[in-house]
């Protein structure tokens, strides 16, 4: 069964450093998403991406964040200058069509020291 994969599973970084989180969505899916979940809190929407453009982004997704689909398979989330409060699980998801939720990857645990 096809699945969304994410690397790394755990990333530890120093405050102020740049990190790139990587995702390989399901191959025939056209819509891609990033969500995050701070420990003990709700899963929060960050950004959706379609046709090489951002479709929608939340207030959390400020200028420190960017997304890219550098090739036909990868989808990345970059945080330019990490803050302590960026520590969270980051989930990538993909879907075939708009409004169909999405299938989620296993997540990357980001720890900012």
């Amino acid at each position: 069964e096809p699945e969304v994969t994410q690397t790394p599973s755990h990333q530890v970084t120093q405050m102020g450093q740049e990190v790139i989180l990587r995702c390989v969505p399901i191959s025939n899916h056209l819509y891609f998403y990033w969500y995050r979940q701070i420990l003990g809190q709700k899963v929060e929407f960050l950004v959706s991406f379609y046709n090489n453009e951002i479709s929608e982004k939340s207030e959390i997704f400020d200028d420190q964040f960017s997304v890219e689909r550098p090739d036909g398979s990868n989808f990345t989330l970059k945080i330019r200058s990490t803050k302590l409060e960026d520590s969270a699980m980051y989930f990538c998801a993909s879907s075939e069509a708009i409004g169909t939720g999405g299938l989620f990857g296993p997540g990357t645990r980001l720890t900012v020291l």
């Binding site: 998403y33 709700k42 379609y50 409004g99 939720g101 989620f104 990857g105 296993p106 997540g107």
Partner: protein, 108 residues
């Protein structure tokens, strides 16, 4: 403001003791209501999508239902392996709005 609220926050059941989880939503332009299962340290695992009031979906011991303001996840004769956090989410075109989840513990 669009919002999804789940209750209870935590639920402890004995094996075989049926119950229901509630998800209430105030969302304008709802496209669909989703249920996911999340195990500790893992990503949400898709369970069901409901698109219109009156719709029901079933999978093994789980049944999801939808009204105009709420969705219920009914668990019939649960087993310990059903222990997890169950997330409800409403979709608005290109994003999901999640509730805080109900953590279910089923004791043998």
């Amino acid at each position: 403001e669009d919002q999804v609220t789940q209750s209870p926050e935590a639920l402890r059941l004995q094996e075989g003791e049926s119950s229901s989880l509630n998800c209430s939503y105030t969302v304008s332009g709802l496209r669909g209501l989703f249920w996911y299962r999340q195990d500790p340290g893992k990503g949400p695992e898709f369970l069901f999508t409901l698109y219109s009031a009156g719709e029901e979906k079933e999978k093994e011991r789980l049944k999801a239902t939808l009204t105009k303001k709420e969705s219920f996840l009914h668990i019939t004769a649960p087993k310990p392996e059903d222990s997890a956090t169950y997330l409800c989410a409403a979709t608005l075109v290109s994003k999901l709005i999640f509730g805080q989840g109900t953590t279910l513990q089923v004791k043998p």
